[in-house]
Amino acid sequence: MPARIVIINTRAANIHSVAKALAKAGAHAEVTSDPAALAGADAAVLPGVGASDAALRAIDAAGLREPVRRFAASGRPLLCVCLGMQVLFEGSDEGSLSGLGILKGGVKLLPSDMRDVSGNRLKVPHMGWNSVTFSPQGRNHPVFEGIPDGSYFYFVHSYYCVPADESDRAGTASYGVEVCAAVARGNIVGTQFHPEKSGDIGLQIYRNFVRYAEKAAGK
């Protein structure tokens, strides 16, 4: 029996890409807005792109806020992608709704007046392939197993997470500021980048997640 993985429906445009990447990694994942389906899942993915309040409204409208918090607290694997990682925090400068508050810290807008050492403007959004340096907790997490330090991943975002607890930070990318590229706290993993759009190395993260989910479910 494969692990039962669900994709939490945040009505984000990247849900289909996440489902396709999971399929490629060998898992059939159901997209759901149903709190009962989430409660019965072995593992879950929280995707998101676009505006923070829109994603949180979709979560609230489906009555998923508490179920997602409970799922995170249950110890079952939870992978949060891009905006999905940002809503894990307590709040965002982008919107007025409170975040899920699963991780401590906030989300800030990238400065608009950044330039690199050669004087080129660092545009907002931060868009394209950037290299990620993993922290020890990132390197040791099963979801990032076998991912070489300095690997390139595809980013698209204008806001970045600022964890209050440095030990939650799993990876960093440099873009004028030190962008929190990934978080990991036990069963809760987040990536600011899009593993589903980062070629083979990104698919490796989904394969790792599927294996981690199977192991956690005892399957």
Partner: protein, 268 residues
């Protein structure tokens, strides 16, 4: 460090890639999925598919193409051509596109950009601009509007480059970004097809006018043209079609050239 992107562009007509890769021994050089997989292996950072299908019933074919490609290739995919509405954009995103380019429909109704950005996020909305250099201000007759005078030295064209507008590309880029465009795909009609290099003054003008990424398009003939577009032109990404399709050089050649001259690129 953020790398500069190298992007092949594929023209799709009724579900088939036209001007397809001619130098490779592909089973089917007209199959979008096979070509996408090939360019992924070659190290493309993204793919752009331009739908040049003339008929509206061909549009559904493009949705199927996007779905098939995105099941097999896991790098960002931009789709442009014939996008008229929020619903059109939604269909492409649902099929698996990551970004959707708007051009003619956005010129006709700039509020389309804002509507799409609100619905799907700015990161999905690419303003595609076809720009031509003009020596002197041109009089332009716009449908349903009084005659307008385009401002030199550049002019925005629509309908696949066939119809002039009175839009100044610098002002149009700024307005589109204010409305919610998250990236600009900038094609120089003067340079396109010449293989004589990108239009560097145009690139500088747009790159400095907006704070979103700019993709340079039109004129690539040699790897150093791409270096010029990224360094002198300050573009964030370079797009090319025929030089890749006909094997004049490969994506890895471009990246080796750029890396050697200090431009950060993703090596695969």
């Amino acid at each position: 460090m953020l790398t500069r992107r190298v992007i092949p562009c594929l023209d799709v007509d009724n579900g088939r890639v036209v001007k397809g890769v001619s130098f490779l021994n592909l089973r089917d050089a007209g199959d979008p999925a096979e070509l996408a997989a090939f360019y992924d292996r070659e190290g493309a950072d993204e793919l752009v598919f331009l739908d040049i299908t003339a008929s509206s019933d061909g549009r559904q074919t493009m949705v199927d193409v996007v779905r098939r490609v995105s099941e097999q290739v896991f790098i960002p995919l931009t789709v442009g051509g014939g996008i008229r509405s929020v619903e059109d954009m939604g269909r492409m995103l649902e099929a698996g596109a990551d970004k959707v380019g708007v051009n003619t429909a956005a010129v006709q109704d700039p509020s389309l950009i804002g509507k799409c950005a609100e619905q799907f996020g700015s990161q999905c909305v690419v303003l595609a601009m076809d720009v031509k250099r003009v020596d002197k201000p041109l009089r332009v007759k716009l449908e349903g509007e009084p005659e307008a005078v385009a401002e030199a030295p550049w002019q925005v064209f629509t309908h696949g480059g066939r119809r002039p507008t009175a839009f100044d590309p610098v002002k149009w880029a700024r307005l589109a970004v204010d409305l919610g465009a998250g990236e600009i795909l900038l094609t120089s009609m003067n340079s396109d097809g010449t293989q004589g290099g990108y239009d560097l003054p145009l690139l500088v003008a747009i790159s400095e006018a907006v704070n979103v990424p700019v993709i340079a398009s039109g004129g690539a003939g040699r790897p150093d043209h791409m270096y010029d577009a990224l360094v002198t032109g300050r573009a964030d990404a370079v797009l090319a079609a025929s030089v890749f399709h006909f094997g004049s050089f490969r994506i890895r050649d471009v990246k080796a050239h750029l890396a050697e001259r200090g431009v950060p690129v993703r090596r695969t």
